[in-house]
Symmetry: C2
Subunit: 415 residues, 2 copies
Amino acid sequence: MLGRVNLTPVEKARTILLDALGNSAKKTETCSLPDALDRILSCDVLSPEDLPNHPRSTMDGFAVRAADTFGASSTMPCYLEINGDVAMGQMPKGSVRQGKCFRIATGGLLPDGSDAVMMFEHTIPVDEKMIEVVKSVGVGINFINKGEDIAKDSPALASGHLLRPQDLGLLAGLGIAEVEVYTKAKVGILSTGDEIVHWSESPPPGKIRDINAITLSGLCKRAGAVVTDYGIVTDSEESFFETLERASNENDVVLFSGGSSVGMRDLGERVIEKLGSPGILVHGVALKPGKPVIIGLSNGTAIFGLPGHPVSAMVCFELFVDPALRLIAGISHPEKSMRPTVNAILDRNLNSAAGRLDLVRVQIQEQEDDLPLAVPVLGKSGSISTLSRAHGYFFINEASQGLNKDTQVKIHLLL
Amino acid sequence: MLGRVNLTPVEKARTILLDALGNSAKKTETCSLPDALDRILSCDVLSPEDLPNHPRSTMDGFAVRAADTFGASSTMPCYLEINGDVAMGQMPKGSVRQGKCFRIATGGLLPDGSDAVMMFEHTIPVDEKMIEVVKSVGVGINFINKGEDIAKDSPALASGHLLRPQDLGLLAGLGIAEVEVYTKAKVGILSTGDEIVHWSESPPPGKIRDINAITLSGLCKRAGAVVTDYGIVTDSEESFFETLERASNENDVVLFSGGSSVGMRDLGERVIEKLGSPGILVHGVALKPGKPVIIGLSNGTAIFGLPGHPVSAMVCFELFVDPALRLIAGISHPEKSMRPTVNAILDRNLNSAAGRLDLVRVQIQEQEDDLPLAVPVLGKSGSISTLSRAHGYFFINEASQGLNKDTQVKIHLLL
């Protein structure tokens, strides 16, 4: 029986888990650039070359010697002879001498001798071969210098960096075709319980459809993991252990859910201990909903016995499984949730028990001229619709016995 | 030449685009539940049945008639005879009569005659057949009633809803195996310019690697779109038009980038007009960086001519293409960015031109006891590394001529 005593505080439970997992070496693999979106770099990337590798114009205009334009104005223009054209995609032929200029378009390479680009807008054509310049330009203006974007051998991206679209762009610009990244976490999912049937079946009297497998699978996929569904196992110790052992051999993380009855909880504990050391890390946390979670580690595989109630299962995923997946994925500070937050005003008084972390599901109602309202979604932890209706959640911490109406709360958004 | 005059303000340009696109009928398709994660429902879903379809215990304990326990306390317990067991996954046999109870585990179906579940914790076994009850329980306590999660024929999820993991759980619980969703937007991407080579190639002198195609492709994928890469087209009108026409026939959205020189901009305009009506919607917006963007619509396909500079291209994607993709995806209020935001304190004075929206890339530096600092990432719009180094961006709006140090700014995070 899981009473109030011996419950581990949530933060302590998470620390025990992450410390234990952190000792296992993280696996890495080589990944081609187009497949590297949203992966995490496992080593630093240095720039193999200068970007750009030649000074390039950032304007349409004329490559000039800046000194030739000094003092030019609309009342006192200077005149430059057009002595060449920079063809796009080709090295300029010849060099810009005093009193001369080359036509150049955005992206064109700066010809030798020039040290600035005069914008078209500040010139007036005199004839085919001559322009009037009505504004001066400084040295280094209107072009991007060799290595100005990134210099050869300088750090381009650091180990642990999440590869966003613009990071792939940087790597493409440097001609880096593949990168070393952490492997995606592999997660095996089991549902347990004699009362559970697959969601695609029509449950006979007394049985219910499995809600947790597809919910947990979606959460894992959003965390970047690769999911294998091991189906539904019955309450017999033999079949449970056999499937759990196979799943733990084949994955970095195994989730089983259901088995929230006393007998099933005991069974869950026994099979984890049987799988291998160190076995159970935490059994029961000071959390509502989600108290009966079991956290274990066997032969390097993290094993989570999640409560059967869908809301409790998702809360435990959020607080324990997700940080473990972030750690395996190579994200720094895996204990920190990545969910965006908004501040809101609680619309009623809420009670809570001291010594326990409460997670309260809420809907958010926009208000004019004030922070939005946080309206708790009431309902039992067996009620999946409360999670579907919720826009987010906030915590009532262990020290608190409740919150008063109009308290400002920080909502973690369930986007 | 694209000067200051005739530039369209950013919000107006976006409204023109979304209004024009909104007239095209959105396409929908049937999607199986496991594939429906992160898709958008295209019609309301009503619950086909009660969930749960029978009252179920939410505790381990005893199914009782609540009235039998009224007044029970540890000093004045009442006694109940154990008259049966609820087997998990089966309909209970028999019914609970006055003074009797059934053993029941979490998830067990409430037997006839009972109207509450007494928790194990509040009972003391007397012998095999008798318990002492030390606390009263009210009618309806510790079980979830038939239809309490969701009632038959009531709305489960509304059209336009993004299917999150918990929403798939709700649908699974209701036995809904497939849903109608909006089709994923199809996006074709072209790069233009005689100076561009594919990023996997080693560029000969004068040429540079294509940065935009892989960056834009990543941005599209993150927006849930399906991307086809049409490669690099040269600056010849014939080859450009031919590829653009094919891409626009095969996609909902086409992006071409590069061609930031005057000649290429004119070419981009001509080919969009040639493709079909209404043609060009917007050419040039009051935005820095990103001014030379071209927005068109031909035969129902949105066509974007994005600036060649990587930073400008990404900014235009963010402000115009992303909202268009959200509209096509069926998301309500597509004009609203989905990026999370944080407030920060600007670390220096910044100038800006009135009448133009400025987007300023920043790094965020955490500070103790205050909002984080927003530190602008300086660099030209041709510099992809500035985007890779940026943690987010903020706007300086059209009415402003700059911001002072210590102004609070709202950072849109580039996660």
